[in-house]
Symmetry: C2
Amino acid sequence: MNLDKQSLLAFARNERAQYEATLKEFVEIPTVSSEPERAGDIRKMAECAAGLLRSMGGEADILDTVEGGNPLIHGRFDIDPAAPTVTVYNHLDVQPASRETEPWKSDPFVFTKAGDRYLGRGTTDDKGPALAALWGIKAARAAGVRANLRVLWELEEEIGSPNFEAGIRKHTGLLKTDHVIVSDTIWVSRQRPACPAGLRGLQGFELVLETGQTDQHSGTAGGAARNPLAELMKLVSEMHDATTGRVKIKGFYDDVVPPTKQELQEFKDSGFSIKSFKKDHLFKSLRSDDPVDVMKRLWAMPTFEVHGVTGGYSGPGIKTVIPPRASVKISCRLVANQDPKKILRLVKQFVKEHNPDVKIEHEAAMYPFQAPTTGALPDAVRAAMKFAFGRDPVFVREGGSIGAVVSAEKVLRCPVLFLGLSLPEHGYHAPNENFDWQQASGGMVAFAKYFEIVSGIRPRSS
Amino acid sequence: MNLDKQSLLAFARNERAQYEATLKEFVEIPTVSSEPERAGDIRKMAECAAGLLRSMGGEADILDTVEGGNPLIHGRFDIDPAAPTVTVYNHLDVQPASRETEPWKSDPFVFTKAGDRYLGRGTTDDKGPALAALWGIKAARAAGVRANLRVLWELEEEIGSPNFEAGIRKHTGLLKTDHVIVSDTIWVSRQRPACPAGLRGLQGFELVLETGQTDQHSGTAGGAARNPLAELMKLVSEMHDATTGRVKIKGFYDDVVPPTKQELQEFKDSGFSIKSFKKDHLFKSLRSDDPVDVMKRLWAMPTFEVHGVTGGYSGPGIKTVIPPRASVKISCRLVANQDPKKILRLVKQFVKEHNPDVKIEHEAAMYPFQAPTTGALPDAVRAAMKFAFGRDPVFVREGGSIGAVVSAEKVLRCPVLFLGLSLPEHGYHAPNENFDWQQASGGMVAFAKYFEIVSGIRPRSS
């Protein structure tokens, strides 16, 4: 086959049934990496994925990371050691999902097709894009593209990739590649392809306060008893202003690099609209109604977010208990050049000064990332996206964090690019997560084209 | 039999097995009034209690309150319309209890006996005291006490007695009594009997904030999205200082009547100790270490208490969601002369000014109460307690709230007294709630003596 648009679209149409059957198979393995009881499903996913890669003519290995960590899947469609090597990164683990506590219209772990739309946990984050890229490899191989095309699939991305870096360090020889292209990001709007030029990092932590050992009655002890829930609420309110989002911890913003004029221009060109953002995310109101301010808040500014609370009574009505223990789950998204380690140090210092009885648990960190936006590889991404989707992509930033990206750049010592396929309305991490055939087939075309272009770029000297 | 101490103690010993078997039967009916699915158990309890009263030679009625409300149980051991009529109030509903979420050492709804100690939900609050008072009636009848002895048992006390007042209004003729004696309060320490001279009232409410419709990813929306959990934490922290407990709502303290010098003296004589209080309630630390300050905080000052939170992720680790909706369950204990209606109005005004998107739900109110401490009836309580337990009781205050008390005084137009049997270490509303034979048998003796004394007090003219 040829790599013209017509042939590639015909290829996608022919492959559609098989793509959908495979996506169904993947979605129906509930690979929730945050739930220890899913370990069997994680293993099943690894074996199923390796089997798929082999059935398509590739070599595949399930690579161990660390004791107790989930493995990586490495698939290789190599043709010539002298040809460039490209590795596509995706992850096959997913966020938790429950019909009991979330408004899913269908079972999250049953693949449901509604016209061109695919519903289920993992359809857009990140199993659908992973398979679209794989079918791009299939097309490129059918067209005789002279590159070694590989995939690296992770199974711990949704818990912050705790073992990814150690895992790829163990297998650097096997994983050697000229560059990595990540397909796990979201466009700003369906109208215009978008590539992240930066990812936010993350520092997660849980504030825990224990003031007693058992529930107490607010009548018999209230007034004298300390209330751990209320004290944590006070501490959290001292740490940030929930109305504006402004963090009040001294030094928190010191290392933030503000976006350049050109970056702000690309933000403005991205197709971002407050109205669509609110509609896609089902928000009633936002902290700001100014689009540039909102984009800066999403992509270029750090955050302080309360994710949940434990302690006390959360059933129907009111139970007048004073709980002995409470915790608040928090994370801060970080931007270049913030250092999670420094942020955690500032948080700990603040807590020590304001409520020394509060302990800090469940620390989780990811560094922020800045991607190249000029040069042969970013140009290849631009060309491939324009070829597949009809418009030049904008290089914006991504509000989320992909810890693996930072690790891949550091350990594999190669550029990391992005070619994302998800849309805001796909509901990343939300109930009724979905993906669609337009983005899947467009992704196949874009990846095939990308592989063709980069097959002509001389590998860096090693 | 005679009503001397020896005979009464012998009576108690003889009756012990039957008392314990009955308490077991009562405890093992899980009468959790806040859980709608327990309606069958509530009904079963009413029938079981009426059956018991009849088996002991009384008349018993299950009195309806309002449509959908739980019934009252009214038991009458009447002997002579001309004799004084005394009604003992207790409640037979209980707080929720769960081994899955609370550190119960035994099943809360299985009566467990360990020596002289009885374990299970409701043993001390309030099934154990209810039956001790009933056995006091049995002793008084055996001794020929000339009074009409009655019980009034409620099944909605733990949810704030929402239908008690309407219920007793319906049956005022049948419920006519010279006074009511309530046995649902806690001594300050085992060493010294205590009677409350006042109860705190309550104004409960839930603050609810909805800013979206589904969970959002803090990477893709964080910074621009409002965070309902964090906004409620800010609001709660604006409403009160969690460290000191001081309420910052304007006008909140305006109507508080401070304790008199004599009251403060009785507080000091009560046997209260910071060390025992911390030990009994398993507190690591308190808001104050000054005993008089702590007693004032418990009995004479209003509170602002956070009981629980809904919204977001409360499972293991951290899930980086922004929830669409959150709520905080709060109640304020109130003291004489605070009016719950006024407090709720102040809260609503404060919320409107500080975060007008926040809604207020689940309002629940109880008025504070002041009991007589001088006159024939309080003197009868003093004498009965000294007779049974060897020491004069102190008249302190009770930090808790019993809505039914205020209603009984208002509707039945008679004095309401207290003869409580529970101890701090019994764990009111807490896991491993317990009662003990010392207090149960002492209660039988005290009630029998009390009935004897008041049988000689001429009924008020009607």
